[in-house]
Point group: C2
Chain length 127, copies 2
């Protein structure tokens, strides 16, 4: 069943106990928000430890990073693997297969972001 055919049936989508009336807004529920897409992008090139993510994303607070990772994990986009039982802990985050299915979408969004920033003269390059 292709997109047009399916969309004509006007299906609803149940996610997080909420109803969405189009797949676009349902997708946005999963990848929207201020940080989710950024975290996902940073996991494209492989697994990362919690502190690696913190260093690569210094402007996210620990609390928010933690909450967003939990959401992504709950939505099966990211897996959390624990390697030690006693402190210091070693934890690695990586994309699931489902999460990897998002890569083309994230790249399409990124490419459009670049296009938009160029077109609107919004880029700022530092020396």
């Amino acid at each position: 069943m292709d997109r047009k055919e399916l969309l004509e049936k006007k299906p609803m989508i149940k996610l997080h106990e909420k109803l969405f009336l189009c797949p676009t807004s349902a997708a946005m529920e999963l990848i929207g928000g201020k940080w989710k897409s950024v975290i996902l992008i940073h996991l494209i090139d492989g697994k990362k430890r919690y502190n690696e993510l913190r260093k690569e994303l210094p402007m996210i607070t620990e609390r928010t990073l933690s909450l967003q990772l939990k959401q992504l994990e709950k939505d099966d986009l990211v897996v959390r693997k624990v390697f030690t039982k006693t402190p210091p802990l070693k934890v690695e985050y990586s994309l699931t297969d489902f999460g990897r299915s998002l890569i083309p979408v994230l790249e399409a969004i990124t490419d459009w972001g670049i296009f938009a920033a160029e077109k609107k003269g919004a880029f700022i390059f530092e020396e």
Copy 2:
């Protein structure tokens, strides 16, 4: 300059007086939120009057629809055209060229939303 080359320069993007450190989050600033992508999708098939949008999106409040349309207009994704000067007013909304450049992205998101909903058994079809 292609994506990888550009991203290696780690440019920032200034939008709405805020700084974004990757084009993905900048793009999300423009099309994220609960309703923007849904409104944009409904404008793909041509111009719509305010009340048409309200009828097609009955779950958005007037206030929110109005605010989101203003944001989209300010970001040059949508144009608002007024055809009468005295009530009853006739106003039409449509995508700008810049807004139309988003169509492939919106469709990519939608397609992934369909894929995700199917995979997670989240679709609900009514009779």
